[in-house]
């Protein structure tokens, strides 16, 4: 296992309340595989990924648990150590390609920064070549020209390619992708997903893919973790999950998608009942 999360508890504190955003969550990510975390907004999927990256800030706190990456518990390490692996061994792609690039620096400068921080033995020319290689890897058209462009000149899909290039710059062992295609058009999404699969094949990267889109899960996942109100309600291989979902919440979620051929047109779709606490079913399943 490349990454093992054991009983992770991340809470957010307000004056009189504690919100257990991630509540004793455990799962692991094997080498070279893709694990998808699915759930609705507020289910704790993004907080899980931020916990792995060590990016939980006040009023949030990781209360207990272990995050073991290559045999080392990240929760016991110093900030300096975490900084040294972030962007190097563990990289992240965020949802919003529009806001996660710095608008006042060129694409090239921002990609170069990763190497300046993590590959200090490279000189300027070598770094430039690596950045161009990185842009070529993500199939960016005219990489030399794009090096000097500012983010606003790029389309949404191109910006997300820059983000992926940045994340792949140091050939990370683990790539965390938090809704990387949600803001993109379907045809661009298809390209980006293809690209991520290709990179995984070539570099053996493990991917933690966070999404609410079950279609994307079906395309990408080896294993799926379903989260609901901070808890993991079901863990299964992708095939198992889609052909034989066990937890009532997973079933409700799958049935709520209008999918051609399976649901009659204009018929009532099943819904996830907001008034039901699906966690009550969890004990029977385990």
């Amino acid at each position: 296992m490349l990454l093992e999360i054991k009983n992770l508890l991340t809470c957010f504190y307000s004056d009189d309340d504690v919100n257990r955003a991630v509540d004793t969550v455990s799962f692991s990510i094997p080498q070279g595989k893709t694990v998808c975390v699915v759930g609705e907004s507020g289910s704790g999927k993004s907080i899980t990924s931020l916990s792995i990256m060590g990016l939980i800030e006040k009023p949030g706190k990781i209360v207990s648990g272990e995050i073991i990456f290559e045999g080392i518990d990240l929760l016991k390490q110093s900030k300096k150590y975490l900084r040294s692996i972030r962007g190097d061994k563990i990289a992240m792609i965020f949802q919003e390609p529009m806001t996660s690039l710095n608008p006042s620096y060129t694409v090239g400068y921002q990609l170069d920064e990763v190497l300046r921080l993590h590959q200090k033995d490279l000189n300027k020319k070598e770094r430039y070549e690596r950045v161009i290689e990185g842009l070529e890897l993500v199939a960016m058209p005219y990489p030399q020209e794009k090096y000097g462009e500012y983010p606003f000149k790029l389309s949404g899909g191109q910006r997300q390619r820059v983000m992926i290039a940045m994340a792949m710059m140091c050939e990370p062992k683990l790539l965390i992708a938090d809704e990387p295609t949600t803001a993109l058009d379907v045809t661009i999404q298809a390209q980006v997903l293809d690209l991520m699969r290709k990179l995984q094949r070539e570099k053996g990267t493990s991917i933690l893919f966070i999404t609410h889109d079950l279609g994307v899960v079906a395309q990408m996942a080896d294993e799926v973790v379903v989260m609901y109100r901070g808890h993991v309600v079901e863990k299964a291989t992708a095939k198992e999950l889609f052909t034989n979902p066990k937890h009532p919440y997973t079933k409700a979620l799958l049935n709520s998608i209008p999918s051609p051929g399976k649901v009659q047109r204009k018929s009532k779709l099943d819904t996830v009942d907001e008034n039901v606490d699906y966690l009550q079913f969890s004990k029977e399943i385990r």
Binding site: G156, D185, G215, K239, P258, V263, R265, L269, T271
Partner: protein, 262 residues
Amino acid sequence: MNTLFEIKNLKKHYEVNKGLFAKPTIIKAVNDISFEVKKGEVFSIVGESGCGKSTTAKLLMTIEEPTSGEIFFEGKDITKFNKEELREYRKKVQIIFQDPYSSLNPRWKVGKIIAEPLKLNSDLSAKEIKTEVLAIMKKVGLEEDWYDRFPHQFSGGQRQRIGIARALILKPEVIICDEPVSALDVSIQAQVLNLLLDLQKEFNLTYIFISHDLGVVEHISDQITVMYFGDIVEANDVEGLFSNPQHDYTKQLLSAIPTIDF
């Protein structure tokens, strides 16, 4: 079925200035499109960002004026309407927006938000308006006690219901739904789609449904029009379009949907 909308050679071009002395570039957001919408159907416009689907919605809502072309509604050209006629037209054609967070005034209570169109367009007393608002709230699945709440006290799905109630209060004939479920979780999306279909049956509404999600469009539509860079590349009924797409772009779009297939 009667024709409700007839759109003929509709164009909307925007001029973009590239600099002081440079010639302005013309962006053809909507470039010579024609289509018909029949009464009581769900007419969907699909396409990716920048294809002109939202501009088309704005033109139908008379938020934007067309560069050229005609929009006939019940046989009359709305581009030639005077103020009074426009007012009547806007009562009949309402819109639901994509973002349930930014399309409701955060400082207004729900009751006031839903009542506003009625206040502007009728002579009803305050009491009568409140009765109407409560009735419509019930229809869309909002509880009566929520009348005095503010938008931030609601979830995304509930806010979208508020938007739908506001659109329904004037008893319109047509609702333009501009990506009404794109900002919602799948489970909530299903609830809103169910509601839209129920309301359509009950009030005999016509929907012009704008979306990029082909799964949703397949579920709800009667007719589908595919737009690409300001043009209509294909128009067909829902069975025909999904079983036998003609244009390359439609095929590409259909094959790009991530399917659940095991």
